[in-house]
């Protein structure tokens, strides 16, 4: 994080952990300036995933693990469900 504050980029990986299929581990990642930027990227991805799944009319939950190297540094989750 010290490096990121000095203007260096950090490579964040975004692993998809969906409720209806196996996890998709990100092998390429994205160079970003901060964890906040990574969270924003994860939010946008959740929106896209919800759009894809919403039209299937299935209940669905997706967690995206934000990973730095082997360490998960944040998570973001979307749930589509009815009651």
């Amino acid at each position: 994080m010290e490096l990121a504050r000095c203007g260096f980029m950090t490579r964040y990986f975004f692993d998809y952990r969906p409720s209806d299929s196996e996890a998709a581990i990100d092998e390429t990642g994205h160079e970003l300036e901060s964890l906040d930027a990574a969270r924003a990227m994860a939010f946008a991805a959740l929106g896209d995933a919800a759009f894809d799944k919403g039209r299937d009319a299935h209940e669905f939950r997706l967690t995206i693990d934000i990973r730095e190297g082997s360490e998960v540094v944040g998570t973001a989750t979307v749930t589509i469900s009815t009651t």
């Binding site: 975004f14 998809y16 998709a24 990100d26 092998e27 390429t28 994205h30 990227m41 994860a42 946008a44 991805a45 929106g47 896209d48 995933a49 759009f51 894809d52 039209r55 995206i64």
Partner: protein, 238 residues
């Protein structure tokens, strides 16, 4: 120098001998562009059209705070042909990766049409196909999920590159980034990455460095529910 343009017009419209001669004599200046170099920006007035000789161009508009890639262009395309009648740009025209264009003055195009009026129909047809591609993209962006949008994009590029002889056993040079694919498909970068991974896992896409291979185009087109009629594949001038 207009080899790709001629290949494209032959593939989608057909050209008579005298049309070929006039096209070959079309005056132009060759210009090399770097990655992300703009040819025209929104608001610019254009006095020339560019024929893409090698590389890729895209048309881009900043909508709200997002970059939207409106169209991708392959060699043989004239992505600013409309400036002949609508000279003020309502979007940007940008090179992605290094590209080479032939710059043709509007006056030279008009002189060519005066000399060979049948080419007016050929070039009109080009603008109609351009519009058909836009309609197809609007439909895809409004109606398809991420996997189908991205699959459709690669199906379309393969056909357009094939027209101009740049598809080599399902492979082609492709200098775009994953973020560019996202900008063209209206998807976040992370979800684009995930979608490309899904296509790779199905054995439908290989992307190494700046080379893309579609190992099984038939299966990719089937998955995408792709129909190339709008690109006028195999049809000759009506």
């Amino acid at each position: 120098m207009h080899q790709r343009l001629i290949a494209r017009l032959q593939a989608v419209s057909g050209l008579a001998q005298e049309e070929l001669a006039v096209l070959n004599a079309l005056p132009h200046t060759v210009r090399s562009l770097d990655d992300r170099e703009s040819i025209l920006k929104e608001g610019d007035g254009a006095f020339n059209c560019v024929v893409l000789i090698s590389g890729f161009l895209y048309r881009r508009k900043i909508v709200g705070d997002r970059n939207q890639i409106l169209s991708l262009h392959v060699p043989g395309d004239i992505p600013d042909l409309m400036t002949l009648y609508l000279p003020t740009m309502d979007h940007d025209l940008i090179s992605v990766g290094q590209s080479v264009v032939g710059t043709v003055p509007h006056a030279a195009l008009r002189a060519m049409f005066d000399r060979q009026p049948s080419l007016v129909h050929t070039f009109w047809r080009e603008t109609l196909i351009d519009a058909a591609i836009f309609r197809h993209w609007v439909g895809n962006l409004g109606a398809l999920d991420a996997l189908h949008r991205v699959a459709q994009l690669f199906c379309e590029l393969a056909v357009r590159l094939e027209f101009v002889g740049l598809l080599n056993r399902g492979s082609f040079a492709f200098p775009l980034t994953q973020a560019d694919i996202g900008s063209a498909c209206g998807l976040s970068t992370v979800h684009t990455n995930r979608t490309l991974q899904a296509l790779r896992r199905r054995g439908l896409l290989e992307w190494r460095g700046e080379m893309v291979t579609l190992p099984n185009r038939g299966a990719l087109e089937a998955l995408a529910d792709f129909n190339a009629d709008y690109l006028q594949r195999s049809s000759k001038s009506a």
